[in-house]
Subunit: 239 residues, 2 copies
């Protein structure tokens, strides 16, 4: 069954947004009478039936709305956007499918390009949320500088955190432990993953001083987006 | 340090292949005297120094070759190529970085497009092998029909296997167990992942009759390539 995004879910006649209406009417060529699923990305889903399918106006009769009050807690991924945005968008799509809770794009010393595409990135999250049938869209925070992370993102507070880096040793920082060992038994956590050129030693020291653990993601050298996808896949599976 | 692929690794003066020579000379603009790493994708790596960098001919003086005799065993991923080849190529890249041992593209009843791009796919594996610094390139088998899997792929023999599918119940097939539980403690295994429309019940029954376990990869509906990446990430991390 096709799923549409619809922010204000309620029983009764609901108009679809322009984007969703065009998709339902012109791309999928759905007809009045067909069943459709609506989600709002904030814990609610509705089952309905198309009652009018015009070129631009599409209405759905919603019969039942199901709500999940509490957002399931999980992993907050703090990650430097990749130089090529398609790699970052893949990470966003896959992380959504694999259950990430929040995403914080961060700018670090070695980010090659600092172009925030918030709306475009959010659309990727919406599409992936619909596709994988989760009820809660991951929160996408506005990008921030790494050294402002804790000030800008209050949801990190009180949650155990870790920084993944590729250096054998960093002065004043304990030797890295395996991410999969560190995260075991933690129902919620945050993890920071650096850019293509890794975090600087200073950045790792800064995060560790705020209480983060230093971790590694295995023997092989992972691309930023691979590291993010792997960490989310491993976290979700091990609770 | 830059890594080049070079099939016949030996001490002494080694010419780079045309592709690698062009990349080193024109793209990276490396000069004689610079250090370079060579890998053959079959367990050997060499450290060398560029001695001649011409427009088409590039020679490397190899001083030491290190060999790893035994290919580490791990996960064989049996997977239906996606309709859009870019999604399948992403899976190949990520699975290589995350340590997959072999990849078997399979054609199933619900594959929407059956176009094999063996050479192109193999290039993705070569590039990812160089990037992530593994010594063994994953084996890419020629695509085969699912019902010929065991006849065509002798390396599956004697190795525990599983089939991931999305159906609540399949007649004659035990209820699915979580992939991450099933795989625990298995140093090597194979896993079959279906196409966008899932395996048919008949295909799942066929695989289970050959001894495969029926597994699921969690609550959310994963795309084919996400399922593959997640399974490899989880397998590698949990041994």
């Amino acid at each position: 069954m096709h799923t549409c995004f619809h922010l204000d879910l309620a029983v009764g006649l609901q108009p679809l947004s322009d984007d969703e209406a065009v998709h339902v009417a012109r791309v999928l060529r759905m007809k009045a009478g067909q069943s459709i699923r609506l989600v709002n990305g904030h814990g609610a889903e509705a089952m309905g039936r198309l009652v009018e399918v015009g070129k631009r106006n599409v209405f759905v009769e919603v019969e039942v709305v199901r709500r999940e009050d509490q957002r399931p807690s999980g992993l907050i991924l703090v990650v430097a956007p990749t130089k090529h945005t398609d790699r970052f968008e893949w990470l966003l799509e896959k992380a959504t499918e694999l259950g990430v809770e929040e995403v914080v794009p961060v700018w670090t010393q070695r980010c090659e390009r600092k172009t925030e595409k918030h709306d475009r990135w959010d659309k990727v999250l919406v599409a992936a949320t619909k596709q994988c049938q989760r009820l809660w869209k991951p929160t996408l925070h506005p990008a921030c500088e790494l050294n402002e992370l804790h000030a800008r993102i209050p949801s990190l507070k009180g949650r155990p955190g870790a920084v993944a880096h590729c250096m054998d040793q960093v002065e004043g920082v304990p030797t890295r432990v395996a991410w999969t060992s560190w995260m075991k038994g933690k129902p919620s956590a945050w993890l920071a993953i650096g850019p293509e050129g890794d975090f600087s030693a200073e950045e790792v020291q800064g995060l560790v001083q705020t209480g983060a653990a230093a971790v590694h993601l295995g023997e092989l050298r992972l691309r930023t987006e691979t590291a993010g996808i792997a960490a989310v896949a491993q976290f979700g599976s091990l609770l």
